[in-house]
């Protein structure tokens, strides 16, 4: 191969790479995985379930208000409805097959924080944060993707400003930006998340 050929090929490769970056929006901070949309073993559509049918997030992700993880629904949860609803759809047949063969479904993790971060879902859910705040408009997603960058800055900016929980008209906690003499609720201590 002559040097000229190599130069041409590598310039083309660089241009392709630059287009890929351009398509993704901006240059990314290291570790920023927003927009990550991997292929899942089963083509589950949040738009159909959470959007069109308005199923509550907590129906499937039931551990979100009890535990540090939100939990991916078990195959049994799917079959709660799908033994009757569209049981012959090819994607739903995959769920039924998993239950029969006793092989758990291996979803690809989309929303993730690094191992050195501890995040507790239940505290945020019980405090009144809506799931969309961090997970974006999930009910419009045909295929789930990561909405937020989950950078430390995105967490800390909220912790710094939203410090107090006030009850709204419906008696449920509302997030307020005002400071008052009430106790700090969202701590900015390092060891709250890094321990």
């Amino acid at each position: 191969m002559s040097l000229r050929t190599i130069k041409i090929i590598s310039i083309l490769v660089t241009i392709t790479g630059a287009i890929a970056i351009w398509q993704n929006g901006t240059f990314r901070q290291y570790g920023d995985q927003s927009g990550y949309q991997p292929i899942q073993p089963i083509n589950f559509s949040h738009k159909v379930h959470a959007g069109d049918n308005k199923i509550n997030c907590l129906y499937c992700h039931s551990a979100a208000d009890k535990s540090r993880v939100a939990g991916i629904p078990t195959a049994e949860t799917c079959m709660n409805c799908h033994t009757k609803i569209k049981p012959d759809s090819p994607e739903i047949l995959k769920v039924a097959a998993a239950l029969e063969k006793n092989e758990p479904i291996q979803w690809v993790k989309v929303n993730d924080v690094p191992d050195h971060v501890v995040f507790n879902h239940s505290r945020h859910v019980v405090a009144g944060l809506s799931c969309n705040t961090c997970h974006g408009p999930v009910e419009t997603m045909e295929k789930i993707s990561q909405f937020s960058s989950f950078s430390m800055g995105s967490c800390v900016s909220c912790h710094r400003t939203h410090r107090e929980v006030i009850l709204g008209a419906d008696g449920r906690p509302q997030i307020s930006a005002e400071k008052s003499e009430k106790k700090l609720m969202a701590s900015t201590d390092c060891s709250v998340c890094h321990h």
Partner: protein
């Protein structure tokens, strides 16, 4: 040039004088071109290749209703570490048991646990466990094993002896299964073998009270305890239970004015002796004669008529000073009749008989010693085991079943046992890891780990606890009870048998629940069932029938220059846990040495023989010899050579093999009991030296100039009761801004009076916080990783050596010197008083560790491997696993604090005092650690900080630590106040 040259001159020029670019003959491309191409392509690849490594998230197919992913569930169970049967709560997270904690409602442990219990988690996920049954050393299936064993068992059942050899079986249901298996045979017996046995207590009580049992010792009912070499806080019978009762009897935190007095007569420095109010150092001869002399005085003054010939009491080696001491001890005992306790650690029936007589004169039976309600722990029968060896060697045994025993390693005559074993046609072992004995068996049928198995336990008569499985068996193991049942043609599961046993035997013994299912579920939930006690049995009466013979035999004992004492360490015990790296690395509480055993010599003996520490010597008794480095032990009697058992294993596994030397050959069998002391030994120095891996070499609190540093504050009980300990604390002055703590401020108080130095807290912390094991070499370089350490200091005054323990977690200083020197702010102060360590920020400068005056910071010098997927299951998912180059330290279990804070906030309520328990606090059998919120005015940590005994370590350095200590109070007259 037609010829290709693979080398050329530095700079070749063409006909115009221009340099010719080098073209590689292989690739045909010049260097410059190659580098250019390399640069472009790597830039391009770098730009495109930042992809997320794909991670899978796999939910269960069917949600178990009691499990919420990410939330821990707790199961009440029983510890299987020894025969004490402490109740435990097993923390299960996502189907994996990851931590053991004491069950506060259990009458044996009352919430405390010893170091061995915490290491059982590691044992469950030990990658070296057997995964399948073995036939002749090769993996097989259970079907094959059952076929072959049943086939070979049939001829063995008639015309031969079948023996079931096990350690103490504390499970009544399992005992019934063993009974059932044995009863189907002509001549079958269940022999209980404990390598370190206390059977002399039983045999002595058989002679004096007609009851073949170990009595219950009630330390909480006693006001004075005199122990002759009984390590009851360390390893004797039921140390957690005794520590609990002992510390409650000595507790001064609630305003008490009285304390249990503890006097110890011993030759070697044991953990119990280190805690005694008065420790009297005795040689082997003095030890026996002290017991005899004490008995003589009490027989005379005790008011009971004993026909004892005064000439039978030998006291030729007792000095007048010693006699005076014993007389004063006798006086104290007599003034506490019925509330005193005299115990002895010797395994000689004669000595124990004398001790029984002493206790009888003092009226302790029925008060501090319960012989009518004996304990079911420690069931070893030495005589039957010796008989078994004889039977095996005579070829009489046709089948031998071995459960949790390893006699080829740990019996007093392992060659005889191994030789006898060869003559047994059918040898079956139930070991879960292959050990020295199991490798000689024909069939190895690995039993479940206790976390995978069903079972129950009864160690206190009438109190039944469960052993619940917390994970499905990881490998193809099978409960030994089920193996026995299969070979008897019974196809039931052991779970069924357990339920049937409880239904038939225990359900009728209560009246609370009408239905069995209710009873079963509630008992499982509580973990404990106390049966309605029937009418109290007749009190066993004391008879002194064999006493005279015992006294004359004791009087005839000969002693030599050196006397060997072999003992159990609180960590490895009898060697069954030698493959636990956690226990190997835990430094011995007294010698602070890890990963080794050694021959302890007194300073006098070592200097007499001109030996320095670490010098290898050969200890010989007759034909038995062992080579060990010596360790100079303060406070040890000059004639005593002490060697720990449990080392020198050859088939323990990666961690346990070739560590130390085996001292079991020095155990002997005489007159129906195993003996752990020997005379006629010689010490021969060699030229070799070994470096002992010690975590602490400083022995006293004296600084090089000879001043006593105020690390341990101590008062006598008299001074404490009279308020002489209330001294003025210097007013706290500081140039720093005080921190603002709006919500909580976490603080801790450690009661030095309660701490016995057992190191259970250290292991609990290791299990909770994913602390790595570093190995002997690194420990020798002072790089052990334990976040919490227990310092041990000696104070010598004349012949007496006092030992003091001081646990040191991170002090969480308000004016932390580590915080101000971190260049990247990886350690900063939290709004709740914690000194936080942020692992992902740390770059490994190590300035913080340098600046810490308490030296509580630990640095990850290496990437401690976490390669094995099975072993990784033991990790706590709430705590980051640190990588190389990161500093770590005690965090006050911040993960537990955060967990409880979140639960409390979710439930919209304040945190109750005592709701958050750090791992060390939870495990302590002596309740020495108190942790809580200093902003909560009613919290117990606040009350304790206001105590006059409260003091802070290195106060002059003005670090303002959150951890303070309560001064040690000794129930002894000759303790002066510390001089600064």
């Amino acid at each position: 040039m037609t010829e290709e040259r693979l080398w050329r001159k530095f700079l070749e020029t063409d006909e115009h004088g221009k340099p010719v670019p080098y073209k590689s003959p292989i690739v045909g491309i010049s260097r410059r071109a190659f580098l250019t191409a390399l640069g472009y392509t790597s830039a391009a690849i770098g730009l495109m290749s930042c992809r997320v490594p794909e991670q899978k998230i796999i939910p269960q197919l069917r949600q178990a209703p009691e499990q919420t992913p990410g939330v821990s569930s707790w199961y009440a169970s029983t510890c299987a570490g020894c025969s004490a049967g402490c109740g435990t709560l097993v923390k299960v997270r996502d189907g994996r048991p990851i931590k053991l904690e004491g069950n506060p409602e259990h009458p044996v442990s009352k919430g405390g646990l010893c170091p061995v219990a915490h290491s059982l988690v590691f044992g469950l996920f030990d990658p070296e466990r057997l995964r399948k049954p073995l036939i002749g050393g090769k993996e097989a299936t259970w079907k094959e094993v059952d076929e072959q064993v049943t086939q070979r068992l049939t001829p063995a059942r008639t015309g031969g002896k079948i023996r079931f050899l096990s350690n103490s079986v504390i499970s009544p249901t399992s005992r019934s299964v063993i009974e059932m298996f044995i009863s189907g045979n002509e001549d079958a017996k269940h022999i209980v073998y404990e390598p370190v046995s206390t059977s002399a207590v039983r045999t002595a009580h058989k002679l004096t009270h007609g009851v073949d049992a170990t009595p219950m010792f009630h330390f909480d009912k006693a006001q004075i305890v005199v122990s002759f070499d009984a390590d009851f806080l360390g390893t004797w019978i039921s140390p957690v239970q005794f520590t609990r009762e002992y510390s409650r009897a000595r507790d001064l935190k609630g305003g008490q004015k009285e304390m249990l007095k503890h006097i110890q007569f011993e030759s070697r420095m044991s953990l119990t002796g280190a805690n005694a109010d008065k420790r009297i150092k005795t040689s082997a001869a003095e030890q026996i004669e002290s017991i005899l002399y004490l008995f003589g005085i009490l027989a005379e003054k005790g008011g009971k008529s004993f026909s004892v010939d005064p000439g039978a009491i030998q006291t030729r080696s007792l000095s007048p000073a010693m006699k005076k001491q014993i007389a004063s001890v006798a006086g104290e005992l007599l003034s506490h009749r019925g509330s005193s306790l005299v115990i002895c650690g010797s395994n000689d029936t004669d000595t124990q008989q004398v001790v029984n007589s002493i206790n009888d004169i003092l009226g302790n039976y029925g008060n501090t010693i319960g012989i009518d309600n004996p304990t079911l722990q420690a069931q070893g029968n030495d005589r039957e085991f010796a008989e078994l060896i004889r039977e095996m060697n005579a070829g009489e045994v046709t089948a031998l079943f071995m459960l949790n025993v390893n006699p080829v390693y740990d019996c007093y005559s392992s060659e005889e046992f191994a030789a006898g074993l060869k003559k047994v046609p059918l040898k079956v072992s139930f070991d879960s890891s292959l050990n020295e004995t199991g490798s000689l068996a024909d069939f190895v049928c690995p039993d479940h780990h206790s976390f995978e198995a069903w079972g129950d336990a009864e160690t206190l008569k009438g109190t039944y606890t469960f052993n619940q499985p917390t994970i499905a068996p990881l490998f193809e193991t099978r409960a030994y009870q089920e193996s026995l049942m299969r070979w008897s043609g019974d196809d039931r599961s052991f779970y069924e048998v357990l339920r049937t046993f409880w239904k038939e035997n225990l359900f009728p013994k209560q009246a609370k629940y009408a239905k069995f299912e209710e009873f079963w579920d509630n008992s499982l939930h509580d973990g404990i069932f106390v049966a309605d006690s029937g009418p109290t049995e007749k009190r066993a009466e004391f008879t002194s029938n064999d006493l005279d013979e015992a006294l004359s035999r004791l009087g005839k004992q000969e002693f030599s220059d050196y006397s060997l004492a072999v003992y159990q360490k609180t960590t490895l015990r009898d060697g069954r846990f030698a493959n636990s790296p956690w226990l190997q690395e835990l430094p011995d509480p007294i010698t602070k040495t890890a990963w080794d055993n050694y021959a302890c010599l007194s300073p006098g003996t070592a200097s007499k023989l001109d030996l320095e520490e670490g010098r290898v010597v050969t200890i010989k008794k007759g034909s038995k010899a062992v080579q060990l480095p010596i360790l100079i032990q303060r406070g040890q009697s000059d004639d005593c050579v002490a060697i720990a058992l449990g080392y020198g294993r050859t088939k323990a596994g990666k961690a346990g093999n070739e560590v130390g030397a085996n001292a079991f050959p020095f155990v002997s069998f005489s007159e129906d009991t195993f003996r752990y002391s020997a005379t006629d030994i010689s010490i021969e120095p060699t030229e070799n030296r070994v470096y002992l891996a010690k975590t602490q070499t400083a022995e006293s609190t004296l600084d090089p100039a000879g001043f006593k540093r105020p690390l341990i504050q101590e008062y006598s009980l008299n001074d404490f009761v009279n308020g002489k300990h209330e001294e003025e604390r210097a007013e706290h002055q500081t140039l720093w801004h005080e921190h603002d703590y709006p919500d909580h401020k976490w603080g801790m108080v450690i009661d030095l009076s309660a701490c016995t130095g057992c190191n259970a807290c250290v292991l609990s912390c290791q299990a909770e916080n994913n602390i790595p094991v570093v190995g002997k070499d690194e420990v020798g370089r002072r790089r052990e990783m334990h976040w919490l350490r227990i310092d041990r200091y000696y104070e010598e005054s004349g012949e007496e050596t006092k030992t003091r323990f001081q646990p040191l977690p991170c002090m969480q200083c308000d004016n932390a010197s580590c915080e101000s020197v971190c260049p990247v702010l990886a350690t900063v102060h939290s709004s709740e008083g914690l000194n936080m360590q942020v692992y992902n920020r740390c770059v490994g400068t190590r300035y913080c560790a340098n600046n810490c005056p308490y030296k509580v910071r630990r640095f990850n010098w290496f990437q401690y491997p976490h390669d094995d997927p099975v072993a990784n299951l033991a990790l706590n998912p709430d705590v980051t696993v640190r990588s190389r180059g990161v500093m770590e330290k005690c965090t006050f279990c911040v993960q537990r604090i955060e967990e409880k804070k979140i639960i409390a906030r979710n439930e919209n309520r304040p945190i109750a005092d005592g709701e958050i328990k750090t791992a060390c606090q939870q495990s302590c059998p002596a309740d020495a650690i108190v942790f809580g919120d200093l902003k909560d005015l009613k919290s117990s940590v606040n009350q304790n900080k206001k105590s006059g005994r409260d003091y802070v370590l290195l106060e002059d350095l003005n670090r303002n630590p959150a951890v303070s200590y309560l001064a040690k109070v000794t129930n002894s007259e000759d303790v002066g106040k510390e001089e600064h």
